[in-house]
Subunit: 246 residues, 2 copies
């Protein structure tokens, strides 16, 4: 599978190119292309900012215009902050990267265009894309910079490739107590509380016990936590009895 | 609907606080809290960086520690880059903000903790949260900065609108205890257990206490359950003392 290429169009500050490289690598993306950068290429400020992601810059392709940069792509997205008068499908970052994922799995090459700081892509650039991607920002404060835009697209790419949600894996790996042990914990507390006259008045006792059982069951205690609760109850009982004996 | 508070814990550089404010406002979020910032508060570098998002800083609450900052929250997420040994549900940013959206719609207050640059949140901070959020970054290059992490959480907040899963609605409607009450319950048990010599040997005491705090936070106790636990502990103590006196 060929991952999408992130294509920086006429980027101005080297720092932003470096930051975009870092943002990409966070999500495992390594294919960067650069179109007509303002300060030439290579750019030492870009290298300094990229630090651990420097190899993206080393391998970045340099192109003189957008048409050349997207020439080998099967599908191109243009990221834009503001609406365009161009008639073109407009998709969310999520949908765009879902599409990119599906296309990449089919052996297709996908490109994503990012415009220069401030001005953004020209209509001529956008015209070369198959679809427009717009991040749903607050219309009263749209201030995403180049690296942040690359970050969000990278995040969505990665998200679309995740197989198993981490909460499911985390849940699956937790050593929960077996139901029988939770039951015994309930017995232990119920016995001590019964001794202590907790279930009062008598006509409410059954309901109170049911509520407690329900609580223990829903807490999803681990094995260790069940032991902790037993231990706490035992230790308090022991200490208070001993105080009584003194 | 009360939007989630983004809580910056011991942030170091003012620039990053300002950048986080901008990232938040991009997605319409305005409630920022700041815990013990390294360079004091207010911070002129933060203001300079925030530019159009300066009012977030003007309105930001300043807190001396995490416990105070989350005291009025009904549910707290901790953002972490690396896995923790603490037993706590781990969710994606998407799921976290889906949960936050549902809880906010029910009038609940949600907090999201962001750790200091480099080090990230301490285990003691994470112990106060109900759940952990981890951005699924490339394990070989995890380099999200504070503002980028806030950006991704804000993006997911904005992205979550309708289509709330029924299990999330159930969660949102549950009357969870506020963090301050969970904290007090922890204090109550810790005091009794300390009296009882539970935290032994001494060199392990701190770790045992942290594990207990973490457990109380992750159990998602309801208000009624917190009262039940207080009541159980009080009643057992009372009964056993009385037996001693006889």
């Amino acid at each position: 599978m060929i991952e999408p290429a992130f294509i920086l169009v006429r980027p101005q500050m080297g720092e932003n190119i470096g930051a975009a490289a870092r943002a990409m690598l966070n999500f495992g993306l390594t294919r960067m292309r650069i179109v007509d950068p303002r300060d030439g290429w290579p750019n030492s400020r870009a290298v300094a900012m990229a630090s651990g992601a420097g190899r993206l810059l080393d391998n970045a392709g340099l192109f003189k215009d957008v048409a050349t940069a997207v020439a080998d792509c099967d599908y191109v997205f243009a990221t834009t902050a503001r609406p365009r008068e161009l008639v073109k499908p407009m998709v969310t970052p999520e949908r765009a990267m879902e599409m990119a994922r599906a296309m990449a799995a089919e052996g297709k090459k996908v490109g994503v265009l990012f415009g220069p700081e401030r001005a953004g892509l020209e209509n001529e650039d956008v015209a070369l894309a198959n679809a427009i991607v717009t991040v749903p920002v607050n219309p009263e404060f749209p201030s995403l910079n180049l690296a942040q835009c690359a970050l969000l697209m990278g995040y969505e790419w990665r998200r679309q490739t995740e197989e198993i949600a981490p909460e499911i894996m985390g849940l699956a790996r937790t050593e929960f107590a077996q139901r029988i042990d939770v039951e015994k914990l309930g017995d232990h507390f119920e016995a001590r509380l019964d001794d202590a006259g907790f279930f009062y008045p008598e006509e409410k006792a059954e309901g109170m016990k049911l509520n407690l059982r329900n609580m223990w069951a829903r807490l999803n205690l681990t094995r260790a936590e069940v032991q902790t609760f037993h231990g706490m109850l035992r230790q308090i009982a022991w200490k208070l009895k001993r105080q009584g004996d003194e």
